[in-house]
């Protein structure tokens, strides 16, 4: 074997490895390293503070609210997106022009940039001039504050996330539904299975890999929500929509407390890592793979 033959496989995978190391591995370790320092990004000296940043973070009431905001946002977004998408998919899973059109319409937000979506919804949710309040007014209800009041701001952001995610989720569900052979339904009908029984006992278990995939993807995505918050609320009012990534961004790039922001980043990494592991360990046993 020549030297070239020995090296060739490494050469082939090198580009992928280099990019992965440069943009994923190195930042993670650099972030962990920075989380132990007090640094403002420009000063030539970094002060080593050990775990002081983590202690400060966990003692900070704002940070606890950020964690709870993120959790509420994630749980609501994931359950609503997955649930509604499944219902839509069950309804759209047939061949007609109308169903195809609805499928396309629901999918379209997925390809629009989040910045545009945020601006659009900021306008729709404007308490004075917004379309939503106008429609609510026509129906005879009082106006809502939407993003401007702490009690409705987080749920308003959830609405936007669900609206954007539905199409993609429904599409994946439709693909999952179409992989279920038609004769399963026929066998069920010969077995006198009622539609609800067919759905809960046969369809849902067969869709479990799809559901599992979507829940993980949505969960990780929701935990890292940033654009809508940066554009629509900047974490306000009174911290009611401040989430982890936005918190990190604010401390890192507005207050230049880079060590403190890194410590929050490490906590985000740990949470997402733990959640993913829990899902894989616990749920994968109950997921049906062919």
């Amino acid at each position: 074997m020549t030297v070239w033959e020995k090296l060739r496989p490494y050469g082939m995978v090198a580009p992928a490895i280099i990019i992965f190391a440069l943009f994923f591995i190195y930042p993670i370790f650099y972030m962990i390293y920075l989380s132990m320092f007090d640094w403002n990004f420009v000063s030539p000296t970094k002060t080593y503070v050990g775990f002081q940043n983590f202690k400060d973070l966990l003692a900070e009431p704002d940070f606890r609210q950020v964690l709870s905001n993120t959790t509420v946002y994630t749980v609501l977004t994931v359950t609503l997106t997955t649930g509604i998408a499944l219902l839509l998919a069950l309804w759209m899973n047939r061949k007609s022009f109308f169903h195809g059109f609805v499928q396309g319409a629901i999918f379209s937000p997925h390809i629009i940039s989040l910045v545009s979506i945020s601006l659009l919804w900021s306008w729709l949710m404007d308490p004075e001039y917004g379309l939503l309040n106008w429609v609510i007014g026509l129906a005879g209800f009082g106006k809502l504050e939407w993003l401007s009041h702490p009690s409705t701001s987080l749920i308003s952001l959830v609405m936007v996330a669900v609206w954007k995610g539905l199409g993609y989720n429904a599409l994946v569900f439709i693909a999952g539904l179409q992989s279920i052979p038609a004769d399963i339904y026929e066998a069920a009908s010969l077995d006198r299975s009622k539609p609800w029984t067919t759905f809960t006992k046969l369809i849902l278990p067969m869709l479990s890999p799809t559901i599992f995939f979507l829940v993980i993807i949505n969960m990780i995505g929701s935990f890292q929500v940033f654009e809508t918050i940066a554009i629509m609320t900047q974490g306000g009012p009174v911290n009611s929509t401040n989430t982890l990534v936005y918190y990190i961004y604010e401390y890192g790039f507005r207050f230049f407390k880079i060590g403190y922001a890194s410590a929050a980043g490490v906590i985000l990494l740990v949470i997402v890592g733990i959640l993913t592991m829990i899902y894989f360990k616990l749920l994968s046993n109950r997921v049906h793979y062919r």
Partner: protein, 356 residues
């Protein structure tokens, strides 16, 4: 136990007429096989009986009840699908008892039924496995057990053996025949394999292009085909056909116009005694298939290629042979493929016997 009657059934898919004006009575307790080439409408017919497909016109009667508007689950039929259609997320037990649960059968009763059935089909050690961990034959048995446990009036089987390997297929074939004897229930079976049809059915319905060609017992179908299609479809190798224009040296006493003359490969006698009176063809042996007890020869004659099958005779080694077919074994078909019966044949006196 049930008799099934199809009255003037038709089926259209959009503008495509698959079945038109089909009438068929499936006898109570019979093992009826629908056979025909793919796309002949046999599966569609079966699915209409099961209620999975709605007929475009006509009536379906099971026993004395018109089931046109009865949903599949209430027709008291059970079906075995080609791909088994087992519920992949359920265990073997779950698959078998799903239908019982939906009927509200009590737990103790259910357990007893599942136990009995799994003993009959030999699934007892596998009750807690998922279908994907079973072999093809075992899956087939689960599908059978799932159908049997409901004690249906009619069993419907849609090419259930086509996914099994040859050996297992033969084994399951005999098992199905025994099962039918044991249960005494009406079996309706669809296959494209005429060997399967002949070996299993006590009543065979030959279909082509949505039309029933002949419905008869296997022996009648073989020895007395109603038309050219049935004659050529049933039997391996198929019946040899000679275009009437190419036939020489036959004195045929009939007023009808004959399209073709046919004979079964096993009726051709190679280098027969000269005292056997029959239609003689000379030809060159192209191939010899030796299957042990029987030999199949492919012979090139002046009128085309034909097959001859012999039993328990030594392999013919000569290249050129003379094949004699006794007159009584010749089948005549009209120009439209219909069978012509009662035709007397003898050797033409004016021409030397044995056409070329």
């Amino acid at each position: 136990m049930a008799k099934i009657e199809l009255k003037n059934i038709s089926k259209k898919f959009k503008d495509d007429i698959v079945i038109q004006d089909l009438n068929l009575t499936i006898k109570d307790g019979s093992f009826t096989v629908l056979v025909g080439p793919s796309g002949c409408g046999k599966s569609t017919t079966l699915r209409m009986v099961a209620g999975l497909e709605k007929q475009s016109g006509g009536e379906i009667w099971i026993d004395d009840k018109c089931v046109n508007d009865t949903p599949p689950g209430l027709r008291d039929v059970a079906m075995v699908f080609q791909n088994y259609a087992l519920y992949p997320t359920m265990t073997v037990r779950g698959n078998i008892e799903f239908g019982l649960k939906n009927r509200g059968v009590a737990r103790t009763e259910r357990e007893k039924l599942v136990k009995d059935i799994s003993e009959i089909v030999g699934l007892t050690p596998h009750l807690d496995k998922k279908p994907q961990n079973l072999s093809g034959g075992q899956r087939q048995r689960v599908a059978l057990a799932r159908a049997m446990v409901k004690k249906p009036k009619v069993f419907i089987l849609d090419e259930p053996l086509s996914n099994l390997d040859a050996k297992l297929r033969n084994q399951m074939r005999t098992e199905l025949i025994q099962l039918h004897k044991r249960l005494g229930t009406t079996f309706v079976y669809v296959t494209h394999d005429q060997v399967e049809a002949m070996s299993m059915g006590d009543e065979i319905v030959v279909m082509n292009k949505g039309v029933i060609q002949q419905a008869d017992s296997p022996m009648k179908l073989y020895h007395d085909p109603a038309n050219l299609f049935t004659a050529e479809f049933i039997g391996t190798p198929a019946m040899n056909m000679i275009n009437m224009r190419d036939v020489q040296g036959l004195d045929i006493q009939t007023a009808a116009s004959i399209g073709s003359v046919g004979f079964r490969p096993e009726q051709g006698l190679i280098n027969a005694n000269s005292d056997i009176e029959g239609y003689a063809i000379e030809g060159e042996i192209l191939t010899r298939e030796s299957l042990g007890a029987e030999h199949i020869y492919q012979i090139q004659s002046r009128t085309g290629v034909f097959f001859v099958k012999t039993f328990l005779t030594p392999l013919e080694t000569a290249d050129r042979v003379k094949v004699t077919v006794p007159y009584g074994q010749l089948y005549y078909f009209g120009l439209n493929g219909e069978r012509l019966r009662g035709i007397e044949t003898s050797t033409k006196r004016l021409v030397a016997a044995g056409g070329v």
